[in-house]
Amino acid sequence: MIATASGFVHPALGFYLLAFILPFVPGKGWKWLLLVPPIVAIWSVMTIAPGEYGQLTWLGQTLHFGRVDKLSLIFAQVFAIMSLIGMVYAMHVDDKLQHIMACVYVGGAFGCTFAGDYLTLFVFWEMMSIGSTFLVWLARNPAATRAGFRYFLYHTIGGLFLLIGLLMRYKAVGSLGFDHVDPSQMMAYDWMIMLGFCVNAAVVPLHAWLPDAYPQGTVTGSVFMCAFTTKTAVYVLLRGFHGVEVLAIAGTVMAVYGVLYACIENNARRILSYHIVSQVGYMVAGIGIGTAMTMNGAVAHAYAHILYKGLLFMGTGCLLYAAGTTKLDQLGGLAHRLPWVMALYMVAALSISGMPLFNGFISKTMTITGAAEAHRTWLAIGMEIAAVGTFLSVGIKLPYFAFWAKPANNKMVLKPIPLNMYLAMAMGASLCIAQGLYPDMLYRYLPFEMEEMYHPWTTWHVLQALLLLGFSGLAFYFTREIITPHAKTNLDFDYFYRLIGRGAYALVSKPLAWLDDHWTEAYRAVGLAGLLNLARGTVWFDTKGIDTVVDGSAYTVRNIGVVGAKVQSGRLQDYLGLTAALALGIFALVWYLA
């Protein structure tokens, strides 16, 4: 069983149980059930002692569900808190399927976090992929459907890299153990696994799925997605591949690349998506540099990032919910009508910018200072450039054009925002501020031992941050006419992904279809004639003899066929749902029997 005698209640358990029972809960009170798994998860990660829990032998492999140590605990802790905030934010949603898929997704993130071997990791990794695909699809519009297919295809490919890597590795070393790899001894399979992780971490140039899919997700689904996928990838990179030089450089490239695109984007949720690429860049760089300080910086930044990025997506989610769009050229002049959305959004915006008093200040500066102290000057400067860009786009441009730019807009029809959405944002905002004021709230959980504790609240750090951000603000003031967003599609690497997709489509639809046609032709000429003769013989046998006996079973077969035909709807979403349900069912059975 996953909840072992030793007392570890795996946080994923509550989410999967809820996903199972939610369709059968009648009445209206079911929405309160949404809060139960997050609260159980918070209780679980706050009380559990480090150790190995919940092992299970399956298919000749020992699966490790419960590797609990300082590193997995701090990630699980912030996942648990964010899941509570996300569920509160989603409580007004009546569509049960959205909640079920959020549960499948969040449960997957917990499963990955505590996984001690690659097989367990892979199973939960794919659960996340399925759950999040549905969170895009359930926006239920054509653009989201297309984006969801692209997202799923892309993550399937990423998952296959991981699968190929872990199978090759198993063949070579005979173990599925998931531990740190010495960067100087990396084999082809290690690179393959790392590549799979990098897809989910949105490492440039593998990142374009993120700004493609997240802006299309449901209002509440994107809040979950922005927190879990990339940060789970950060966690597994940190555990498996810290100190790999290429990550240090790739991370810094991400940090800068993301802000450059955000600078020219028009859709608010796309701006935020590019800033996920950028912020995860700081973490990936910290992992690549690999000193205790930069790795702690990566963990701290992941923690802070989940809170403020969730809040940013909640704020823009409110805009989407109320105004029906997040395109900045269509918004503006709404500050006086959505004052609290604006204020709570600003808490997150100042947090991501690293403004003193907010949690980005205590996490971002740690990675940058760590990079400088490790004498990686260029990387540190890259991160400072990204910090300027972050404040420009998320800190000023987005709120300015969404809430202020035009004259006060009293005409736009705004749907009233439910109280639970405000409540969730207030929870996120209070945590952002509390961590900014009391860094120890976060630092005490940091997993790596440092020679000297980092102190963010020195006069110099505060002054430096204020100078950097203040004068970035001045740059915005001078260029506010130039930076005005335009309704444009900016080409990114997904242009190439689509080319590859079209190429594969052309291959299937032309040469392979031609081959199939000819094969069908040959089959008709040779195979069909034989079959017809056989059929004639069978008909004779049937009518002469066993008609009465067989009729009964024929009806049965037909009925089964009808069910089978219904299941085979040809729709990927149905297959995915069935696969997930089946996989979960098998897992539940195995747990029960083991």
Binding site: I264, H336, M342, T377, G389, A408, W460, L469, T489
Partner: protein, 86 residues
């Protein structure tokens, strides 16, 4: 309109005052930088007062102008570019 909303509208009508306060604040920060310096310079130049002010301003201006004026015209397409193709 809520009280908070009215306050925001009141502020909106006073952008000149807010801008003036903002510039004053920036001047104050640079002045403070003359006296408050880092214990040890991490990038050599940051030992000089005003380094981070210049850094923020120059990087910010360069980023906006280069991205909006040079890069975006090259890589941008119509808003429905992909929708038309797929």
């Amino acid at each position: 309109m809520s009280l908070f909303g009215m306050l925001l509208n009141w502020l909106r009508a006073r952008t000149r005052v807010i801008a003036a306060l903002f510039f004053l604040g920036l001047a104050g920060l640079v002045a403070a930088n003359v006296f408050i310096r880092p214990h040890e310079a991490e990038y050599v130049f940051d030992a000089y007062p005003g380094f981070w002010a210049v850094f923020g301003l120059v990087v910010g201006l360069a980023m906006v102008i280069i991205m909006k004026k040079i890069v975006q015209p090259m890589i941008s397409r119509g808003d429905d570019y992909y929708d038309r193709n797929s």
